[in-house]
Amino acid sequence: MTGPGQVTARRTDLALAVASSIPLTADVRQLTLVARAGGRLPSYPPGASLGLRWRPGRVNSYSLTGDGDSPLAYRVSVLRVPGGNGGSAWAHALREGAAVEAIAPRSAFAPAARARRHLLVAGGIGITPLLSHARWHVRWGNEFALYYVDRPGRAPHLEELRDLCGARLRVYAGRDELRADLDRALAGQPLGTQLYVCGPLGMIDAVTAAARALHWPDGRISFEAFGAADEGPRAPFRASLTESGCRVEVSATETLLEALEREGLHVPSMCRQGICGECRTPVRSGRVDHRDLVLSAAEKAGGQWVMPCVSRAADSELELPL
């Protein structure tokens, strides 16, 4: 897919197919995904996530569990969430051969390169990004330890982790059991250790609070809440153009800028990422959901400008003097 030298600034969509779907535990399935066109998939840093489009306009992100280096397949482990939005049920129903549209790996929970030691704490399905971290540390010979807590018999990837980590892995049957050991571990790490926590919010709060109580600086604590999406939701809205009298419907899968261009309007643009300020466009009325880095807080509150490359309507309509 990213053949040598394939250059694109924004690699977003990947056409994948399910190579296998196997149950890891009663409520977790591992999906193995390959490029429909065959070949190598884009590499990714440890802790990266893959967005799967499970319905038009809806994306669920899952942590990639491999080592990320020149992969021929992506693996994700999906926990079925009863009463969730339906994405995990969709993923569990996928079988070999099914086509899947994905968003190329995005990194939000990477290892700190400069740390002299890495302390990984995982709860339940939160193990998935930290499994990827553990592979990385083993490959590069980094010092690390992994504390993994889950209900007995339910913890996914346990055998794999034992083989990979050996004595660096400690497994706990419950949070209380973890607590005593972890307090000792947090108090005894060498200066320059990085702490990573991934699991349910309650566990993240407990572990990070324990670390802060022992004077760990914030910069040495990384965490990722299980289930957190890395893309803001995109809802469709309408742009009413007062000069030309046009009404432009902006779908959930396109930006306002793309919709305006589709209608033949020329809006100067450069980065298309909400940074350069080139596409700054005045707003006549309607509340803006600002997602750019250009406008100041005061300008955003003022509501007179929009960066159509990333920002959207906060409600159903924006009126623009175009």
Binding site: T2, G3, P4, G5, Q6, V7, T8, A9, R10, R11, R40, P42, S43, Y44, P45, A48, G68, D69, S70, A104, P105, R106, S107, A110, P111, A112, A113, R114, A115, R139, W140, G219, M270, C271, R272, Q273, I275, C276, G277, L293, V294
Partner: protein
């Protein structure tokens, strides 16, 4: 070459901005186009490589390697080998390892290099060379590796031999914003804070680019603060040899353009900053009427503090004068 020169002046007035745009896209100019590749291998490739080797031999401190970025160094090597092979297939060939832990093969026909190596294993590279140095000696671009931590980007490693007006050994270990501290006007406007925030959000494999520019007497690549004595002498020599004669000045003073790419390396997650340096003499510049007119307009409008920062305080009027003479047709009998 004029036809693929990345002419940097897009407007009649120049101000610092976070002028980042996606990399790898063709950009048309009045004289041709540029921008479809990330790397550049031109006629002058061997000259750049030889000059880099000469500078490294004289000042090995231009290469800075840190153990915690070794994975990023390997990422850099693989990224550049893949791009060189894809962008210049007649000159370079890269064969991926057949399986993880296997041997890759690199062929550089321009320099006569063939190397079998195992990615990640420094013992398979030439003795004493890390991955950054091995590939850095085979590209014309300056390379800086930025580590992202604690909400900032830190320029911790790199191989920079062609810096213009700065010192890589001096800034190594600083944050992106600290490095840009001396740039006038841009910091109060938050340009670099915004640029850093943007770069920190680049996703694996994404590449963005920007151009930077200056004018300089001569065409010394190493215009770094580490080599001030050398280039000052060269600049003085060039200017002395081109008194008021516009023709000599036109040949010897150059527009220096840096085409900079910022790449989020896929596997390590580090940022790779690539700087390609190009020169265009005033005489060549004047062959493209729109460029000369644009350069004159920008130079005339450029505020004093920015001109000072770009080292143009004394050179500016002479460049404007020279360009004017070059683009104005000489009527018979008129004295120049």
């Amino acid at each position: 070459m004029i036809s693929d020169f990345p002419f940097p002046l897009a407007k009649e007035a120049y101000r610092y901005s976070a002028n980042l745009q996606p990399g790898g896209q063709r950009q048309a100019t009045e004289a041709g186009s540029w921008g479809e590749t990330i790397t550049r291998v031109g006629q002058d490739y061997e000259d750049f490589i030889a000059e880099r080797a000469r500078i490294l031999a004289a000042d090995p401190g231009r290469l800075i390697s840190v153990p915690y970025l070794r994975a990023a160094e390997w990422d850099t090597l693989l990224y550049l080998m893949r791009h060189l092979a894809a962008e210049y297939p007649a000159d370079f060939e890269f064969t991926e390892p057949p399986a993880k832990g296997g041997q890759a093969r690199w062929t550089n026909r321009r320099l006569g290099v063939t190397r079998d190596f195992i990615p990640g294993d420094p013992a398979t590279l030439p003795r004493g060379q890390g991955p950054l140095e091995f590939i850095g000696r085979q590209v014309v671009e300056d390379l800086v590796l930025l580590d992202q931590r604690e909400g900032h980007l830190w320029a911790d490693a790199g191989l920079v031999t062609f810096a213009s007006g700065w010192s890589f050994p001096f800034v190594a270990g600083m944050t992106f914003q600290e490095i840009h501290g001396p740039v006038p006007r841009a910091n109060p406007e938050g340009v670099f804070a915004r640029a850093e925030a943007f770069l920190m959000r680049l996703q694996p494999g994404e590449a963005y680019r920007r151009v930077n520019w200056a004018f300089q007497p001569g065409r010394m690549l190493d215009k770094s603060m580490d080599a001030t004595a050398g280039w000052r002498a060269e600049a003085a020599r060039v200017l002395a040899a081109s008194p008021e004669a516009a023709a000599a000045l036109a040949e010897n003073v150059h527009l220096r353009v840096e085409l900079q790419h910022l790449v989020r390396l896929e596997t390590s997650g580090a940022l790779l900053f690539l700087i390609d340096t190009r020169f265009l003499s005033l005489a060549e510049l004047a062959r493209v009427p729109g460029w000369a007119a644009r350069a004159i307009a920008v130079l005339e409008e450029l505020p004093r503090d920015m001109a000072d920062y770009k080292g143009l305080t004394h050179l500016r009027p002479r460049i404007i004068d020279c360009l004017r003479r070059l683009v104005t047709p000489v009527r018979s009998g008129e004295k120049i």
